[in-house]
Each structure stands twice: as structure tokens, then as C-alpha cells.
């Protein structure tokens, strides 16, 4: 039961990040590696704010905005300086490593015994009887709100443009809209979500570590691909919901591998192997018959 709860907690936290990766990878068709830097950036900002005793609720919007700013920079590098998408992300990811160290002041910043969104007077008073489920309830609420906000956004005129730009960017130009701007907005929202995820992760784990971002993008991609390929047939389920479930399933797979006797040092290897397996299994087999001419 404890293991199950912990899988659910981690899966739900990473789900917010996966929603961001869903925007870049699936909607924008942009392999955005900024994620590996913006996730720990959210954690770094949070750790600093929490250790200074700032209201933990404030960390959420601050991290989202900081992530959005970073995403915007990746977009500007790609659109205005015409650097290739993959390279723009790599440049930002590398730069953010230093930025994160600067924000936190050191490579590791624990925030034990501090007031967080999971541990404060209000929450402790309200959810007193169910202390074990406190964390998961709060995470669940934040993730679901993020998911519905994203769903709502994708149905607006601006969100529809975002969906169109990955589909066929000619149409954006035909609609007399600057397609570069649409991409920048998409990257901003995506990295905002990623930093938000990092913010919640830091509060749940109660520390920031500069290397905690390594491999984030792989986890995000794996979640998106599991979610979208497993639930492709179920049309009632929105894609964003599939991504959230995909993230939980992915964390479940990793937990399963560890419970089978692997050590935590093997984690990245397991991540890579799982990702490869998901990619290969998720590929469509019926490529010989091309439907769209």
C-alpha cells in the first residue's frame, strides 16, 4: 500500500511535467530538452523560497512563471536566431545547470522541517485524520487542476493555433499569424508546467539537488508515449488524461523493476531500457498501408 501510494504520488507529480512534454513533443513536434533544466529550476526556486520561510503557495505561480520565461527563451533562440530545435533546447539545458546552482547557492539544498504545501498548519488542521493520504490528495488536486486548465486552453482560439502549428505550420501563416510567436507561446506554457512539476517534486522530496533534472525529458517522453499509444482507441478519454495515466504507469514500471531487486543506481539504465521498449512497442505496425495520400 505504501509503495502504491508513493508510485501514485510520484506519477502524479511527474504527470504535470509530462503534460508540458506533451505540448512540445506531440503538439508542437519540437524535441525540447530545456525540460532537463527547467524541472530542477522549479525545484531550486522552491527550495530557496521555502527555506526563507515564504508562503509555500506562492512557490507554485512563481515557478510556473519562471519556467515560462525559460521556455520563451528557448523559443526565441529557435525562432529569432534560427537555431535548430534540438540545439536550442540543449543550449538552454546547459545554461540552466549554472543558473540552478546560482539560484540555490549550492548543489544540494534540503528543506526538512519547513512549511510546504504538504505540511502547513492549514492542511494539517483540515486533513488531520488522514495524514497518510494528505500528500497524494494535494498532488492529485494540483495535477487535475493543471490538466483541466490545459484542456481549457487547448479549446481556446489561442490554444487551437497551438494545435494547428504542429499539424501544419503553413496554415498559421495563411491565417495571417506569426507562426514563430505561436511556437514561443507553446514552449512557454510547456516549460511553465515542467517547472511547476519540479516545484511540487522538491516540496514532496524535501530537497533540491542540481542533478535531479537529468533524464526528466526521457521520463516525460515515456509517459506521453505510453499514455497516447495505450489509450489511442479510447476516444472518450482526453489525450491529457491519457498522459497523466501514462505517467503513473511509467512510475509503476520503474517501481516494479526496483522491487524485483534492482538497485537505485540502476535507475537510469532501467529508465532508458523502458523507454526503448515503449518506443519500439508503441510504433505502429501497419505502416505499409498509408491512409493519407
Amino acid at each position: 500500500m505504501v509503495l502504491f501510494i508513493s508510485v501514485l504520488e510520484q506519477g502524479m507529480i511527474y504527470a504535470i511535467m509530462a503534460l508540458g512534454v506533451y505540448i512540445t513533443y506531440k503538439i508542437l513536434d519540437f524535441p525540447d530538452l530545456t525540460v532537463d533544466g527547467s524541472f530542477p529550476m522549479g525545484a531550486a526556486i522552491t527550495a530557496v523560497m521555502i527555506s526563507r520561510g515564504i508562503n509555500p503557495l506562492l512557490t507554485l505561480p512563481v515557478c510556473f512563471l519562471a519556467g515560462a520565461a525559460v521556455g520563451m527563451l528557448t523559443g526565441l533562440i529557435h525562432v529569432k536566431l534560427k537555431v535548430r530545435d534540438l540545439l536550442s533546447g540543449i543550449i538552454m539545458m546547459t545554461a540552466l545547470y549554472t543558473v540552478n546552482l546560482r539560484i540555490a547557492g549550492r548543489a544540494n539544498l534540503p528543506i526538512y522541517n519547513k512549511t510546504t504545501i504538504f505540511d502547513n498548519d492549514f492542511i494539517n488542521g483540515m486533513l488531520n485524520g488522514i495524514a497518510d493520504y494528505r500528500t497524494i490528495l494535494i498532488i492529485f488536486t494540483i495535477t487535475i487542476i493543471s490538466k483541466y486548465l490545459l484542456d481549457w486552453y487547448l479549446g481556446t482560439k489561442s490554444g487551437m493555433l497551438l494545435r494547428a502549428v504542429g499539424d501544419n505550420d503553413r496554415i498559421i501563416t495563411s491565417l495571417s499569424v506569426d507562426k514563430g510567436l505561436v511556437k514561443i507561446v507553446g514552449l512557454a506554457i510547456a516549460n511553465g508546467l515542467v517547472a511547476l512539476s519540479g516545484c511540487i517534486f522538491a516540496q514532496q522530496q524535501r530537497y533540491f539537488d542540481v542533478s535531479m533534472g537529468t533524464g526528466t525529458v526521457v521520463i516525460g517522453l515515456a509517459s506521453v508515449i505510453i499514455g497516447t499509444s495505450l489509450f489511442k482507441k479510447i476516444t472518450v478519454l482526453r489525450v491529457t488524461s491519457s498522459v497523466v495515466i501514462g505517467s503513473v504507469l511509467y512510475k509503476g514500471c520503474v517501481a516494479l523493476a526496483i522491487s524485483l531487486g534492482f538497485e537505485s543506481t540502476d535507475l537510469k539504465m532501467i529508465t532508458a531500457a523502458l523507454f526503448l521498449a515503449i518506443l519500439v512497442l508503441g510504433m505502429e505496425r501497419k505502416r505499409r498501408v498509408k491512409v493519407d495520400a
Binding site: T156, K157, S158, L161, I171, L175, K179, D292
Partner: protein, 257 residues
Amino acid sequence: MLELKHIHKYYNPGTVNEMCLFRDFNFRVEDGEFVSVVGSNGSGKTSMLNIICGSIAADSGQILMNGRDITNLSEYRRLSKIGRVFQNPSMGTCPSMTIMENLSLAENKGKSYNLGRCVNKKRRETYQDMLRPLNLGLEDKLDVKVGALSGGQRQAMALLMSTMTPIEFLILDEHTAALDPKTAEINMQLTEQIVRQKKLTSIMVTHNLRYALEYGNRIIMMHQGKIILDKKGKEKEDLHVDEVLGLFNEISIECGN
């Protein structure tokens, strides 16, 4: 009015493959004209359209729209007054979005793409009425993804989408070339109807000489970056397919094929 003045365009400048396409190219389209453009491959038809729309930049020269210099205006800004349909039907629509979503997106052109809802369910019937006369069965498929439609259906969608909002110019780049004869005919009639209804100034590139003569009120033939035939009004009506074909053969033979 659209006007190209003293356009020069070189491809691969400074290399052994340097090729001069346009040398002092001039072209003027008056308001209300529907110009058919014919010519062999490489004669500069599509390049001309690309220069007008801003997809490629001319090396020198001036482009005027309604007397205003738009030479340095970016492509997406120019397209606020221009609708463009491509040869490839999938270029004018979003395949992973439904017909309803595509039409809603296109209808908002020129307005701000803000946080308002994009799809307005009340417009459903209007869209159905718009699609019904096409006889392509699209009116019952509003919630079908455009990627699942046939090329002809998609091209009709692309044509509708590019002309839904008030525009002044319509650029058609071999827009029936990828379609079967019957669907091509439907799309040509739809084009004619839209152009007449909305009084659009149009330029249509086509390889179909019959369409070039049958539709529109002016015809030009291009060859090696020059206009070698330009007939309008009565002169064009008197022009016969054989004459155009004869001229076409002449320039083709000149090139050695």
C-alpha cells in the same frame, strides 16, 4: 491591384549553378481580374506567386499591393489580404483537427486569437449550409478529422477556408493538379463561384489549358521568366486551345524537348 516592378531573381547566386529566373520582370493585375497563368515547368509561375506572397524574397524590385509597397512586409502580414491554395491538398488544412475546428479556426482570420472559445456550436448549421452545395458529403462529417478526407474534399475545404474571411486576392497554385478530373471540375466551379461572389482579384497557375481558357478574364503564358502571351477580355475569349497549344509547343521545342 497587385503590381510587380522590375523584379530580379537569381537562384544559387555565386555558384556554378547560378540561374537567372527574372530579369526586370514586370506584371500588373488590375482589380477584379482573374488571371490564368500557363507555362512550362521552370518558367517562373510558382516563383512569381511566392514572390507576391512573400514566401521567397526577390533580389531587387518592388511589390505593390493596392499601391502600397509591401516588398519588405513579412509573409504572414501580406496574407491578411491574400488567400492562397496550394497544389497539395494537405497544405491548406490541419489533418488532426475536425472539419468544424478547421472552419472555426479559418473564420477567425483577421481577428485576435485570444482566450475565447474557438468552436462556436451555433455556427454548425451555417457551416453545414456552406458545405452542402459542394455535394461532397462534407455537411454530415463536421466532427470527422480532416486527415480522413479524400484529397478532393480536403482541397475544397482549403479553398473554403482561405476565402471565408474578407480578403481581396486569391492565389491558386495548380490547385486542381492533384485531383481526379471530376473532383477537379467541382473544385474549379467552386473557385469560379467564390471569385465571382466575393469579387476577388485572382491569379491561377494551371497546367490545364482548357481551364485556363474557360475560366477567368485574362490569360498569360510564361516562358523562362518572361511573359510571352497576355490576352484579356474579348481577345481572350476569341483565343482557341489550339493556338495556345501551338505557342506552347513552340517554346517547348525551343528548349529541346
